[in-house]
């Protein structure tokens, strides 16, 4: 019994859930940021899995999904650069990285 698409999707879903739970529950903004990356990579994993199991009529995998994964990795890298810069600037301004301390925009 080999590894099926469902196994990959299960792992991807677990990773996504863990990431989402981390975004919702953790207080440290850096950890939240890492969890966000986890969610992105969960999506990447499922995309690669779809690519692997969705063969075209010529027997080759669907490369569209893999191209999309590279695209996501690139954007995520840029996002990390910007995001970390924002966090550093935020820390310099507020001396904290805890999200519950950053709530000035409530009514």
């Amino acid at each position: 019994m080999g590894v099926t698409l469902n196994n990959y999707l299960l792992v991807s879903g677990l990773l996504f859930t863990i990431g989402f739970a981390g975004v919702l529950l953790r207080r440290n903004i850096i950890i939240i940021f890492m969890c966000l990356e986890l969610m992105l990579n969960a999506a990447n994993l499922s995309l690669v899995a779809f690519s692997r199991f969705h063969l075209g009529s010529n027997g080759l995998p669907d490369y569209n999904a893999q191209i999309l994964v590279f695209f996501i990795i690139t954007v995520a890298a840029a996002e990390v650069a910007v995001g970390l810069a924002v966090i550093v600037a935020l820390y310099r301004a507020r001396q904290t990285t805890h999200v519950e301390d950053i709530n000035n925009l409530k009514f």
């Binding site: 975004v23 919702l24 529950l25 999200v99 519950e100 709530n103 000035n104 409530k106 009514f107």
Partner: protein, 601 residues
Amino acid sequence: MALPWIILFSPLISALLILFVTKGSRTLSGYVSVAAVLISFVASLAVFFQADPTAPNQFLWLDFGNQLQVPIGVTIDKLSKAMLLVVTTVGALVHIFSLGYMAEDEGKSRYFAGLSLFMFSMLGIVLANNFVMMFIFWELVGVSSYILIGHWFTKNSAAAAANKAFITNRLGDFGFMIGILMVWVASGSIEFVKVSQTWHGLHLNSLYLAAAAIFVFCGAVGKSAQFPLHVWLPDAMEGPTPVSALIHAATMVAAGVYMLCRVFFLVEASSEAQNVIAWIGTITAVMAALMATQQNDIKRILAYSTLSQLGYMVLAVGLTGHDAAMFHLFTHAFFKALLFLGSGAVIYAMHHEQDIWKMGALQKKMPVTFITFLVATLALTGCPGLSGFFSKETILGTAFEHNRAIFWLALGTAFLTAFYMFRLVSVVFFGLGKSDHASHAHEVPPVMKYPLVILGVLSVIGGYSLFAGNFLTLPHEEGHGFVTLLAIGAFAVGAFAAFAIYNGKRQEPVQIPFLSDLFANKFYIDEAYAFLIKWTQDLLATYVAWFDRWVLDFGLVRSFFAGGTYGAGLVLRFLQIGNLQAYAFMFGAGVVAFIYYILFK
């Protein structure tokens, strides 16, 4: 084929010429206008001696397929030929008279441009061969009448009178428009010839027939100043006197009667409408005659007399005597224009004094004016042998045959007519000079005198079938000796009573309590209208203000829009809790809800 168009457009060209070229030269403007009306007159004569054309003389103006076709075209038949001659003859004489009357006026150019525009519109009504074209010229007549009544617009009363005339006419015209629409809806055509051929074959509901005829009659009520829209005509006397002669005696106010004769097939089709028309005419005739007995302004007396005579014509139409109505219109145009021009001459000689109690003893100082005025008075009051006698008698004869109540009222009006006209004559021309102006009055210049003489001649001969029969279809004479006797009796009694009461008096000798006031104040109809309008307007304003304040301002704007926006903001602000993770949770929950909706709805 071109002649009718020359008749129609020569006054328009004159009006434009005066407006754009000769405005600066008052003398030249007068001559241009007179020349134009003379061209129309000569062309009318030429048309009169031509045979009726068989082919329609028209071109298509608006074409909406089978639904509606509006041509611009001319009707040439016995009716329009006679009316053309009446309008251009009286028009030409009034234009010439105006050269003298308005010689010193600052706005002489404007005045003659207005007269020319009026001639154009009036001839348009006469020549129109369909309802839409007639309606267009109908409105144009209203406009030019407005311009001419308000000629001395710096005088408040003149400006107000012009407004009153225009607005009152609009009321009637609105009905006319509805009537035209009803005719078009039922018959699918607006050409007189086509509608008159198909109207009887349509087998319409009698209510529809009556409504169509009465709505069309509304137009005549406005233009011919019938009760209850008669109020504008006496006030229209604020205009220059020749205008009163042309517009408010001989032509414009006769347009209503002419129109009724033109669309007589509508009236013929509904006996209910005939009743309404006959009674409106009768009421107008009697009421106006009563009012005339207590007026002191020479022009106003004549205005009420015009109202009364128009009432006569309308009642004749209502009693299916449209030939009699046209006959009376024909004779009335001459003697009433003469009366107005004569009063114009008197006013001119009196240095614009119009109160009859300041005149007197003018018969020696202004012999020509006096004699022509007397001739016109005798014609109007129905003295045997003069034009008015014949036409009035045919109307009385028609009334005698169809409706006795109306006959007796019309006969009473004939008596009153003789009474108030001889009151006017004896106070103005006989007795003593009651002011300095009256003692120093002298005869008017020839340019004013000769139109009077020509109209005087026409007033005498206008009623003889030898003369009038050339122009009109004269009503068939039944020969009611009884009616003739009564008519002569009414004339004689009225004339002698007035002469006996008023000769040599210095002020109003007749003072009947209540009634005198009632007649002098025109039955308080103006006051009633003013009250009614003020009352309805106040009532309407109160309700509209309430609606605006509470429903629109408070209900809709303040409560619904402003309150709703404020309340929505108030609720939604609770979502702004400032916690990043709460936002993320809501976002996630939203995505889950969305997916749930897509997959499991």
